[in-house]
């Protein structure tokens, strides 16, 4: 098993090369901009659920506090004065949604991951500027080299084993 890192000069070339590279092994792209990607993400669902749970818990907390925890007459308002509980329920819902979204992002991407073997390739330094990089983990090293040359990769780097 060897890992190759190759860079392309443009997004178009990388996208064109990907179908050919995939059969070689595990392929991952590293790009300065997001590639077109039709796959969906679970994060909106996480955010929605966390927001709803947070809002319901926030509302429940206020109901508990005012009806069971310490019922007290404030300006003659009823104990279950639900319209007054809405703003805080909303704010707590938003807070949990945002936090869940951020934590969820870290979890689904297994971040923080400060070190990754591909970092050993100096090509990767350009992946956040203008190089469209791809890493290929494959058994068929020679075929990969040939294929990359055919697909007009700018540079190819072999990672030390």
């Amino acid at each position: 098993m060897k890992t190759l890192v190759a860079s392309f000069a443009s997004e178009a070339r990388l996208v064109k090369a990907l179908p050919g590279l995939r059969p070689l092994g595990v392929v991952e792209t590293y790009t300065p901009q997001a590639l077109e990607d039709d796959r969906s993400s679970i994060l909106p669902l996480v955010v929605l659920v966390a927001g709803l749970v947070g809002a319901v818990c926030g509302f429940g907390m206020q109901v508990y506090a005012n009806m069971i925890g310490y019922p007290i007459d404030i300006g003659g308002r009823p104990e279950f004065s639900w319209p007054a509980f809405v703003p805080i329920a909303f704010e707590i819902g938003v807070l949990s949604a945002v936090l869940a979204g951020f934590v969820g992002f870290l979890v689904v991407n297994r971040l923080p991951r400060l070190y990754d073997p591909v970092d050993e390739a100096s090509l990767m330094r350009g992946a956040t500027r203008d190089r469209w990089c791809v890493s290929i983990r494959t058994e068929e090293l020679d075929r990969a080299h040939t294929l990359l040359r055919e697909l007009a990769a700018d540079n190819v780097e072999e990672l030390p084993a």
């Binding site: 590639l35 796959r39 994060l43 807070l95």
Partner: protein, 446 residues
Amino acid sequence: MTPFDPVALPGSNNPDMTDHVSGIALRANAFGWWRIATVLPAALTSGLIGSILYLFFAGVGIWGIDWPVAWGFAIINYVWWIAIASGGTFISALFFLTRSEWRNSINRIAESMTLFGAACAGIYPILHLGRPWFFYWLFPYPNTMDLWPQFRSPLLWDFFAILTYVTSSVMFWYLGLLPDLATLRDRAPTRGKQVVYGVMALGFRGTSSQWRHYRVLYGVLAAIMAPLVCSVHSIVGLDFAGAATVGWHSTMYPPFFIFGAFLSGFATVLLLIIPMRRLLRLERYITGRHLDVMGRLLLTSSLFVGYAYIMDAFNTYYGGEKAEITMFQEKLFGYYAGIYWATVLFNVLLPQLLWFAAIRLNELVVALVSIGVIVGMWCERFTIVVVSLHRPRLPSAYGLYHATIWDWLTMLGTVGFFVFGILLVVRLIPVISMFEMREILAPRRP
């Protein structure tokens, strides 16, 4: 420079933009002007710390507040700052949702402004508490007193709103920063910077999975931030409207406050981008188009605010309540009338200059108008807080308010802190969101 400039001048390209913007943050030595510019803000920030220390030692009696005006500079400045902060979120979140391309080059500035504006705002209500060290009593934690905060009060809603807003703004800002931090990590010239930016970037490498989740999450958070910022400033309005005080008890307050937030936020963003595009050589990415759009927005929000002022007067006289009319006359002609008319002049009349395209593109005039608006918004908060309180319903309770040296020190201190924070942002992180600019510079075409 014309209103029809593209959002990035022709000839711009991604590598140049990345090198230029990251180069600013990665400079070995600060700009000469940067060193000079930090002196006064640093001094003012020290003044802020000093005045807070003295406040902790001596209590809120060092301020000018007393009966009947018990909400003085602390609340004025709080509302003023939180309005400025809100303006930044409008630009970064609301205009993200409308897919306005011009927002990509100024949203980092706007969000940073939000962060430091909210930080300045957040200081005040806590200091305003008689015993600031017990501010955590606002939080519903399982305490030995078996007590709960008063959930029916807009003031507590405000605590939650600010807490959520500050946290969400930090998250949104940091999330938006991740790809740029990765760029800085990969371009950092020294080991120290590599490690610091590397840790902050959390290992973002632009893999397909990272980008996929990232784009979705960024959109979702923007969609959450937009209503959040409206709720925050509505609740600030409710802090006032919830009280049966003359002049405050009005359903118009929440939208009125949001109009004000638009106005002061846009003005502050303009005030920041005008010198920045010159000093940091960003004319290529912050163009006439940006100035034009921001000028139009400033003018529009000024008209909104003007409408609110007219409705304020109309409601008072149409409603016909004696105490309201007395207070309003006092606003127009009384002891603090100068501040009211300054409000009208700076917030409504002065921005009318922006009807003219030539003026919208004149950086000096726009900067002056922006400063005028920021001052005018402060005057508006002063009028709302002080004038209403100094003429309560009972004539026996009439009184005046004067700020003390500590009020001024604290206020100027937060201004210094804000500028200091923005200067730090300029020095340490990319002032332009590079990964979003790439979308404009190399649009994805088939």
